[in-house]
């Protein structure tokens, strides 16, 4: 029987990083992926003369060589940074909520951001400065916490990172209120919320502030050849390190021994692989729902307790005029009905009511990403319920077109750009598309929601006790770092290194 020290199931962002970590730790490693490409959502596809980015809006926490973010540091350690050509995103975002007369374009750089906010909202300086001070303390506290692998000393924490501990249990809205931030500034600084997909009453301040701070402090980056370049660079690295990679190969079963620990993996063609360590880059729901025969009750309960985060929808447009000609001014737009994220979240439950979009014109960051005289855009939204489950196959294409049409109308209305008559290529991905390619339940793209009780901090603090089955760890959006590119990479880093530790301890 073929034997590996470790098997990684799923070559998404988390799985790829985990595989590199396992190989760097000296483990003989196999990574299997059911699709014929690596990356999961981190991929690209071609239509006519366009190559579309499948999902990445901007890579958070990467930074430049002289202002390296944590993701760059990780990529350096993995040995992949130099295999990829990077570009910087020009500005943070433009947020528009027409019904509330909000239209603000925010820059990268903490000072620049505070100054611009003061220009939009006179009197906001003090509270916004405090926001970034808190956020920076959170960043340092998190760095300390990961340096001691989550085994933090509480006295040391309180002494050195007191504000982090004091604000650590509150939601975004609770903290911003305490900071007495003027409402309009709250609205502007809330723009990123849909990147994390929980409303700001639910989402922990630590999680949100940490993300905003990393964006604004370090800027954002993008690989020149779409995220497919990152994914292929990682596969290249895995092969350099002697790892085996199988595409078009689905792991259908995880085998367990008498004590319930991992003993092997069965592939879709019946091949049995002996291994005592598996890192799953997929939902625990999928693993426990169909890949394992005996699942401990505590694990079943814990899995059932969790809530699926947003189900994804993206429209891709290749336009036959340049961004200038069409009046598309910015790289990154957030278009909302209201900046009240609780109300907005509610409206995002149904196909009929959801009109939110996070939209990118890639040419504004990478002018030659499409042929001269053209540009390309992608428009993303999230559904906060399973309304797409109500769409029958025969109504599917019409429903897709209905949503795509609404997205175009909103973009034109809110920004004044004219795009409808210049569509040369259109492609739409729905929850069904994400379910198909990545196997996620209900087409979820954001893992488990960052609810008030299931946010970043308690997940990190409970990493050890969440690991209930010997030899089984998780990476990707459903795991301890939550969803998003950088989070998924970090989860792969953590689970990969922990598995190396398990292997050294347990064999």
């Amino acid at each position: 029987m073929t034997k590996y020290d470790a098997v990684v199931i799923g070559a998404g962002n988390g799985g790829l990083v985990a595989a590199i970590r396992l190989l760097q730790g000296g483990l003989k490693t196999l990574i299997v992926e059911k699709h014929n490409l690596p990356g999961g959502f981190a991929t690209s596809f071609r239509r006519g003369r366009f190559e579309f980015e499948a999902s990445l809006h901007e890579l958070n926490d990467f930074g430049a060589a002289n202002n390296a973010g944590d993701v760059r540091v990780l990529f350096d350690e993995l040995g992949v940074t130099d295999k990829i050509e990077w570009i910087q995103i020009p500005e943070a975002y433009r947020v528009i909520a027409r019904s509330e007369n909000l239209d603000a374009t925010m820059p990268f750089g903490v000072q620049a951001f505070i100054d611009k906010m003061e220009a939009y909202v006179p009197g906001s300086r003090e509270s916004v400065t405090k926001f970034f001070e808190l956020a920076e303390e959170i960043r340092l506290a998190q760095a300390y916490s990961s340096s001691v692998n989550g085994q933090t000393d509480s006295k040391y924490m309180v002494a050195n990172y007191g504000n982090f501990v004091r604000c650590g249990s509150y939601s975004v809205n609770q903290v911003l209120k305490t900071l007495k931030m003027p409402q309009k500034a709250v609205d502007i600084i809330s723009a990123y919320w849909c990147y994390l997909g929980a409303n700001l009453d639910d989402m922990s301040f630590v999680h949100y502030a940490s993300m905003v701070n990393r964006y604004i402090l370090r800027g954002a980056a993008m690989p020149k050849m779409r995220s497919h370049e990152i994914s292929l660079a990682m596969v290249e690295r895995i092969r350099e390190l002697g790892g085996d990679v199988l595409f078009n190969t689905e792991a259908v079963k995880i085998l367990t021994d008498a004590e319930g620990g991992v003993s092997g993996v069965v592939l879709d063609d019946g091949t049995e692989i002996a291994t005592r360590h598996v890192v799953c880059n997929c939902a625990p729901h999928v693993v426990y729902g169909k890949m394992m025969d005996k699942v401990p009750e505590a694990e079943v309960r814990a899995t059932n307790a969790r809530k699926f985060a947003g189900r994804g929808f993206t429209m891709f447009l290749g336009l036959d005029r340049s961004a200038d000609e069409l009046g598309i001014e910015n790289h990154n737009y957030f278009l909302y009905d209201t900046m009240d994220s609780v109300k907005q979240y509610d409206r995002m439950r149904t196909i009929a009511d959801n009109d939110v979009q996070a939209t990118v014109c890639l040419n504004r960051a990478l002018p030659d990403c499409s042929p001269e005289g053209t540009c390309m855009m992608y428009f993303t939204t999230l559904y906060m319920s399973d309304d797409w489950a109500n769409v029958k196959a025969e109504d599917y294409f019409k429903t897709k077109d209905y949503v795509a049409d609404k997205m175009i109308a909103r973009f034109e209305r809110d920004t004044g750009a004219k795009i409808r008559d210049h569509i040369e290529e259109i492609s739409v991905a729905t929850p069904m598309t994400y379910a198909r390619y990545c196997g996620h339940p209900q087409g979820v793209i954001y893992g488990y929601e960052s609810q008030y009780w299931d946010g970043l901090m308690p997940r990190l603090q409970m990493m050890a006790e969440d690991h209930r089955i010997r030899g089984l760890r998780f990476a990707g959006g459903y795991s301890m770092r939550l969803s998003g590119y950088s989070s998924a990479y970090f989860s792969g880093d953590i689970s990969g290194r922990q598995t190396v530790g398990d292997f050294k301890r347990e064999g």
């Binding site: 504000n163 305490t178 078009n248 069904m432």
Partner: protein, 381 residues
């Protein structure tokens, strides 16, 4: 001066609250239901109808349409759905090796929900020859996922589509016409259907029966003059005779027809977004016969196969009886994605790979010809 964050009147309350997060989550996780975790979900089930993957299909009916065309109707394992204009691969084992070809579906999308699908095939090569000579009712085949973008896009295309079909290129339009007639789709379709003689027109009777204010047929015979038919080739003048205003051109037929139309359509000065072509062929190349070896790793196994400079890498692998993925066989879908370890190849037609694929040495065996001995890594089918 660093500030001190304080939410509650007594700051220590904030600290206590922090320490309660873990117990709270622990409690919530333990409160979850003990019920079995579902093996599947509704969205995932609908996704399986939209993308059934490979499935087996029983040949239930063969109809001879013209001297060199037959329609093969199948009953599939599972209900599925597609967009009129898409193709599927039809495959079976021919003399010990797996062979498959992409064919545009000629039946209506609605029929697929009832597990029925039809392909209309012109006898012109190895696989179609096999079908004509050997396939019989009751035989089991494998059909692939509905694929391709040769479809009407309501948000992009004009409300009026000018379809130009040559020979068996009528099949995707026949599917569209049925979809318009049964209300699945809504647009105006004028089909210019070119064939050599009246005898060569496939689905003439069926198409005529579908004619309406939305579906209009113009038959164009190149080798025959007959009342009620246009004659010659389908060009700008003929199109202008029947169509005006804003329209999208969709064409499906032989390369020669595309070459002619490309020139003719210049007269309309249409932007590229108004012209769609079903890209159903691989670039061919005219080179000296050379023989090479291809070493290929598939899964955990390695094989060495013979290759010929005049045949694609994919064909070399298939000839050797290896099961490797293929769908469009025209370089565009990326389904055959493989990695080059050493050696060289060329792509005579358009290079439709992703940028990073070229950078990291990935290629599409279906449209790439060997220029030397090669070592590659391919995926299993």
């Amino acid at each position: 001066m660093p500030f001190t964050f304080k939410k509650q009147i007594f700051g220590f309350m904030d600290l206590i609250r922090f320490t309660k997060m873990v117990p709270k989550r622990r409690e919530k996780l333990a409160e979850g239901s003990a019920e079995k975790i579902p093996a599947t979900y509704r969205v995932n089930e609908t996704a399986k109808i939209l993308h059934p993957g490979y499935q087996s299909a029983k040949l239930v009916k063969i109809t001879q349409n013209t001297a060199d065309t037959k329609t093969y109707e199948f009953e599939t394992d599972k209900p599925f759905y597609f967009r009129a204009g898409q193709y599927m691969t039809l495959g079976t084992n021919v003399n010990g090796s797996e062979a498959s070809r992409p064919y545009a579906v000629s039946s209506a999308p609605g029929a697929a929900l009832g597990k029925r699908v039809a392909f209309t095939v012109k006898k012109c090569g190895f696989f179609s020859g096999y079908l004509f000579d050997n396939a019989k009712e009751g035989d089991i085949f494998t059909v692939g996922d509905p694929s391709g973008e040769f479809c009407y896009e309501p948000l992009k295309d004009a409300k009026h589509v000018v379809a130009v079909a040559g020979g068996s290129g009528i099949t995707p339009f026949y599917s569209m016409a049925q979809a318009i007639a049964d209300g699945t789709m809504d647009f105006k379709l004028t089909i210019f259907y070119g064939a050599k003689t009246e005898e060569d027109l496939i689905f003439k009777k069926e198409l005529d029966a579908l004619g309406s204010d939305k579906i209009r047929l113009v038959y164009v015979l190149s080798d025959e003059k007959k009342a009620g038919y246009e004659s010659g080739f389908i060009g700008a003048d003929l199109i202008s005779k029947y169509v005006s205003g804003d329209f999208t051109v969709m064409m499906c037929g032989p390369q020669a027809m595309y070459a002619f139309l490309d020139k003719e359509l210049k007269k309309f000065d249409l932007p590229p977004r108004r012209i769609k072509k079903e890209a159903n062929t691989v670039g061919v190349r005219d080179v000296k016969e050379e023989h090479y070896k291809i070493k290929v790793k598939i899964g955990f196994e390695s094989y060495t196969v013979d290759a010929d400079s005049r045949e694609t890498v994919l064909v070399a692998l298939e000839r050797a009886g290896l099961k490797v993925p293929a769908k469009c066989r025209a370089g565009g879908c990326g389904f055959c994605h493989a990695k080059l370890v050493s050696g060289s190849f060329s792509i005579p037609g358009a290079d439709k790979r992703r940028l990073a694929d070229s950078k990291f040495g990935y290629f599409h065996p279906c449209c790439s010809y060997p220029d030397s001995d090669m070592e590659i890594i391919a995926n299993k089918a």
